[in-house]
Amino acid sequence: MFLSREIEYLIENEYREGQALPPERDMAASFDVQRDTLRSALDLLEQKGIILKRERIGNFVAPSRVRFDLNKYRSTKRYIEGVGKKHKVILLTFEKISIDRRHDEDYLLPEGTLVYRIMRLRYANDIPMALERSHVLCEMASGLNEEDVHKKSIYSTLKNKFNITIANSKQKVTVIKANGLESELLKIERDEPVMRYEGIVYDSKGCIVEFFDNTILMDSVEFVSQSFV
């Protein structure tokens, strides 16, 4: 357990993502432990998502996760680029619908509220990372169109075109099983566990601007935050 932490320290300080670790024999020697001890420490790091093991090839530092900072509140594009990855987003559907509340129990909106439903697929380094479903209230952004959200941040459009300033959002992270559509788009097995990241976004007057629920690959993101008691 402590050996794995020492290796983690080494990786954090001296290695970059994708880099190969020294052969296990050499690592065991430099930490002065048995090969078996080293292997179980590496297993732990693999499970924690710190390293990737490749059969007969070696051990590598895992790709870094996209880091969402809850105190900063930036566009997803900036977070992806923030860890040095190439960003891409594809608009899948854009439609105007009235919500039926079937799945919107927590969102405090009356049945029949009109929203723009925007479904997008987000990529990091050309690998699909998240299926994002955003619902923008029509009364807040009347006339929002496909062009506005195609390859653009929804929030920057809301600010620039509709003069809406986002003030805060309430968010929730849980784990669900990928459904057919999610598994197909994210290129994973059906029923594989994925992160469900949902939230309600408010403007500075406390009105709901948007609610979203995103399905994200478990190992692709992390959340960081600073909080005071």
């Binding site: 932490r5 320290y9 297993d43 929730k172 784990v175 960081v224 935050s225 909080s227």
Partner: protein, 244 residues
């Protein structure tokens, strides 16, 4: 709103306000239909909707009862209005009994990783406390906590099965007040799976935090492996500056 939505809402309110408790059996469709003065099919529809949303469960021959699972979920909020004092406070707040099993404890010396996290010298001793946390006697989290032992007098002798670590730290004026936190989802490790009684390879929350006291001294570093089926993470993100 359609009639059955109205009934659905009424029943849901009764569940939320505690009129019906988790595990409790609801009245039959017939009785509820009479009570709300509606058609029995309307109650059936409302039951269907509540079943689909996971609030109630039906069992042939036994009736319809309030589903337990949803209500045993523990919220481990990042930023709650009344602050984040860790798992214990939150669980008490929800009226759920929390208990601990100490897996191991003791002094660790010379860990570069821990001294880096705690920002102390490599030669300073660290007190390690490894616990399984239970909510209503079900394992919920495995927690590895490290504190600089120089702040605390008799930490090695404390019985952390019965004494809250935070109560103990507070008695030395070293209660963490500010937290730097990190949340990830991971595939669980074998050892944690065993403690938590879940299948190996199933997902877990990995929640790591550094706690600082009022003087901004680091007093705690914790790694917590938390069951996804028992907890959910909620947080509020606030922006002071405008977006983009």
């Amino acid at each position: 709103m359609t009639k059955y939505r109205e009934i659905e809402k009424k029943i849901l309110e009764e569940i939320k306000n505690g009129h019906y408790l988790p595990g409790e059996t609801l009245e039959s469709e017939r009785i509820l239909a009479k009570k709300y003065e509606v058609n029995r099919m309307t109650v059936k529809h409302a039951f269907d909707a509540l079943t689909e949303k996971g609030y109630i469960e039906r069992s042939h021959g036994k009736g319809t009862f309030v589903k337990k699972k949803n209500f045993e979920k523990l919220d481990l909020d990042f930023d709650k209005e009344d602050g984040n004092t860790g798992i214990t406070a939150l669980v008490e707040w929800h009226g759920i009994m929390i208990s601990n099993k100490v897996l191991s404890k003791g002094i660790v010396n010379g860990s570069r990783y821990l001294s880096d996290k705690l920002r102390i010298g490599l030669d300073e001793p660290v007190f390690a406390l490894h616990r399984v946390r239970y909510g209503n006697e079900e394992p919920i989290a495995v927690e590895y906590t490290y504190v600089p032992s120089s702040y605390f007098g008799n930490i090695g002798e404390m019985d952390f099965k019965n004494v809250s670590l935070y109560d103990y730290m507070a008695s030395f004026g070293k209660l963490p007040k500010k937290f730097n936190q990190k949340l990830r989802l991971i595939e669980n490790a074998e050892k944690e799976a065993e403690h938590l009684k879940i299948k190996k390879g199933s997902p877990l929350y990995y929640f790591e935090f550094i706690g600082m006291d009022g003087d901004m001294e680091i007093v705690e570093y914790t790694e917590s492996y938390i069951r996804c089926d028992k907890c959910e993470f909620r947080f509020t993100a606030t922006t002071k500056k405008s977006l983009v």
